[in-house]
């Protein structure tokens, strides 16, 4: 994936060419709904480590998350729109994170904040989940250890942009992913092993299938 020009930044542009299946009303309604959603994302802070400190700094007055309509921290997942996972997630917390995600109503998004949440970071060991995308779907990854508040703000702006591009006619958007009943995983075990393959001189591990 090289550097490509961003798509047109005219977010209000609507495709009303005949045959696209979208009427003028639907696209206008999309614009209105997305505008409302992007401007009032309520975050569910799932802070487990030092990234949560940076997240608190982002929410405090200097960086002021409230400017983007996120001043209302939703400590109950049932009233939340964005799950911000800030910090490493040990395996013991994996079922908790999964349950919190399932308790959030649609529409919902997820930001994985920091290296540990995104990939396990330096904790390439027996206790830490190697990236929360193996448990729940993630929309935006914010790199950094921990990311500065500007980094998180940039991730949030990217998420808002993503929200503004959503289309009502896109049937793949609001799919609740059902985990595989046998393994309880969303993505195939081989893919998880591939994702968490050790880099550098880490000890090579057995692949799935034991």
């Amino acid at each position: 994936m090289g550097l490509t020009a961003r798509p047109s930044d005219n977010l209000a542009r609507t495709d009303t060419t005949p045959g696209s299946g979208e009427s003028w009303v639907a696209t206008r309604l999309d614009f209105l709904v997305n505008w409302g959603r992007a401007g009032s994302l309520w975050p569910m802070p799932f802070g487990t480590a030092c990234c949560a400190i940076e997240f608190m700094a982002t929410a405090a007055s200097r960086f002021d998350l409230a400017r983007f309509g996120m001043e209302r921290m939703s400590f109950s997942p049932r009233q939340a729109d964005v799950l911000i996972c800030a910090g490493r997630v040990p395996f013991k917390l994996a079922p908790v994170l999964r349950r919190i995600w399932l308790q959030m109503p649609q529409p919902k998004w997820c930001i994985s904040m920091g290296a540990c949440a995104s990939s396990g970071g330096m904790f390439d060991n027996y206790a830490v989940v190697q990236g929360i995308d193996t448990i729940i779907p993630v929309d935006v990854y914010v790199p950094g250890c921990p990311p500065r508040p500007e980094g998180l703000l940039y991730g949030i702006l990217m998420l808002q942009e993503k929200v503004k591009r959503e289309r009502m006619s896109d049937t793949s958007l609001r799919n609740e992913m059902d985990p595989d009943p046998k393994s309880g995983l969303y993505i195939p075990p081989q893919a998880i092993d591939e994702l968490s393959e050790p880099f550098g001189n880490s000890v090579h591990q057995t692949r799935s299938g034991l």
């Binding site: 013991k92 994996a94 079922p95 027996y126 994702l195 591990q205 034991l210």
Partner: protein, 235 residues
């Protein structure tokens, strides 16, 4: 007006204060031992295997069978009064010839003494990894021993509720801090994740709220007495 206590200027020692003990001023081995070590030798001749003084701290290697009596005596005897158990842990060395050590850190607040007790468990495959629990002497040993069991697999005989504390209870990959445990665990990542997600967080723990009135019967006697008198707690 004279100061009621000597004024300490930060970064500068008081004029007649002895120099603080730093590792550079202490010999690696040797030096004055904790007087409790000699008292232990006199009291439990065979129970004390050897005494070492390392960096000014006294390590007493004791016999596993006598450990409970020794700790009991250290706790109860008026000349010792080790009333605070600060840690229970274990050490496994990379050298397979060296035995696995279980370590108790005891502190005597009245006498300002610190004593480290160690029990050696030879790794010959025949010795059971079992030591007596000191839970009946120090209630604070409960979670310390559970953690030691969770990480090293050492069984504390006499512990009321010996189960895993850091890892979840269905975890059966082994004991993570042992030297034969691979850093990334025994199973593949997908299998670890599958097992972790299968664990039910509510299996053993009630998520219901508990009021003080409901938990009243489980509180210690002293606390019940205070609460009954209408006294505020924790102050």
């Amino acid at each position: 007006m004279s100061a009621p206590f000597p004024v300490v200027i930060p970064g500068r020692a008081a004029p007649d204060a002895p120099a603080p003990a730093t590792p550079k001023q202490l010999p690696n081995r040797g030096g004055p031992a904790n007087p409790s070590a000699d008292a232990l030798r006199a009291k439990f001749q065979g129970g004390v295997v050897r005494v070492e003084v390392i960096w000014g701290e006294t390590n007493v290697y004791v016999d596993r069978a006598r450990l409970f009596d020794i700790v009991q005596w250290l706790h109860d005897d008026p000349s010792q009064r080790y009333d605070y158990l600060s840690d229970v842990t274990a050490v496994e060395y990379r050298d397979p010839e060296q035995p696995l050590e279980v370590v108790w850190h005891l502190r005597s607040l009245p006498y300002r003494r610190f004593l480290r007790l160690k029990v050696e468990l030879p790794r010959d495959g025949k010795t059971l990894l079992e030591v007596p629990s000191v839970w009946s002497i120090y209630k604070g040993a409960d979670w310390l021993e559970r953690e030691c069991y969770d990480m090293f697999g050492i069984r504390f005989v006499g512990h009321p509720d010996l189960r895993r504390i850091l890892m979840w209870e269905q975890y059966h990959e082994g004991f993570p801090l042992r030297k034969d445990f691979p850093l990334r665990g025994r199973f593949s990542r997908a299998e670890q994740l599958r097992q972790a997600l299968a664990a039910n967080p509510e299996a053993r723990y009630s998520m219901e709220e508990l009021t003080v009135a409901q938990a009243f019967e489980d509180l210690p006697e002293a606390m019940r007495k205070r609460l009954k008198g209408g006294e505020r707690t924790g102050e």
